[in-house]
Amino acid sequence: MYKYWHLFLISLRQRNVFLFDVLSSLFSYSIRIFLVITLYRYLNAHASADSFGGYSVRDLSWGLIFAQIATVGMPNLSWEISEDVKSGKIAVYLLNPVKYPAFKALEVLSGAFSNLLVMTVLALGIGAAFAGLPELSLASVAGSLFLLVGSFVIFALLHLLIGLLSFVLEEVQPIRWIVWKFNLLLGGNILPITFFPPWLQTVAYASPFAYTGYTAGLTFARFNPESFLRYALTQALWIAILVSVTAATYSYFSRRLVANGG
């Protein structure tokens, strides 16, 4: 466990060397948030009151802000794994006395962790400026941060799973596009889930994507113990499912690895 902790710290330092990369992603994040919140405001002014499903513009804006933290803050782990396979570096990693998925996940989560800290602070500033701060309580802040950390874990596991497919496939980026579009659609990254027709809302809340930031944002804006418990339990269930699937995938595919890409 000690060596994994050191791997985490080294990667954390390495990721923060490229300050310009971090700042440029924050800039695009701010622009996107501003544009979508402007759209929500327009809709609020022109559409019927029940269109927002009982939520205010501020609630939905915070849902968007938190959903985008996880989407923008997560480094592209699937691409890194794919490059390891294509370049043949994977052979060296597999010879090391560390579990490759654990090593890669820690390496990426260290980057995500620093992004999470910086982006959460920035998101609070942007949210306060564009949407207004909700009435905060210890429960809403702690609950949303708890769900946000879970969001990063779900994202890392999804990346890991897609990346591991590169053990047997030539190219996994197209699969990542599709999964990320599901995240865009079902994760409240453009449109809040409450805008969807009932059948699509059911699909969204049954998928892992609603728990990659959106529900954390709703918890931050309007804390409700019952909703929080439901979100946390569903998120934990998805983490358990993804960990099991990732472990099984690694175990199966590592025996069928085709170096330089399937």
Partner: protein
């Protein structure tokens, strides 16, 4: 100009050498774009129009962007590698060669997923404007190229 055409042809042949990857990238990019259409279909179904803009207007804009981005990535996919070349010293060798270094770097790579973007744009145009005249299609292509 012939040399640049040969660079493009070589890029295409190289990309198509990995047939599974070529088919997967181009088809999944088209599906990827279709998701965007679905997101905005859901949106406009609920809200109708936004400041006079309806689903058809929005999607044709999306198709135009897909066409423009797809053509750029297909012909000048090397544009994203200029910074890497400068950082890694790869620009030095380009400057020593005859012809335009910028054009050669821009054409040094073809992003094969761009085929999916272009197909998406053409399918959307055909879907929205079934009875469009050749002139309308020509305008669509020219605007996309510009």
């Amino acid at each position: 100009m012939g040399n640049y055409f040969r660079i493009f042809a070589a890029n295409m042949l190289s990309a198509m050498e990995y047939k599974a990857a070529f088919l997967m990238q181009s088809s999944f990019m088209a599906v990827n774009n279709a998701f965007i259409v679905f997101v905005w279909y859901v949106f406009f179904q609920k809200f109708g129009t936004i400041g006079g803009l309806d689903f058809g207007h929005y999607i044709i804009l999306q198709a135009l962007m897909g066409l423009a981005f797809g053509l750029q990535q297909l012909l000048f996919g090397g544009c994203w590698s200029i910074a890497y070349k400068i950082r890694d010293g790869g620009l030095d060798s380009e400057l020593l060669l005859p012809g335009s270094p910028l054009l050669r770097i821009l054409m040094s790579k073809t992003d094969i997923s761009a085929v999916g973007d272009i197909c998406f744009a053409l399918v959307v145009f055909a879907w929205l404007y079934v009875d469009a005249s050749p002139i309308s299609f020509g305008i669509f292509l020219v605007v996309g190229i510009l």
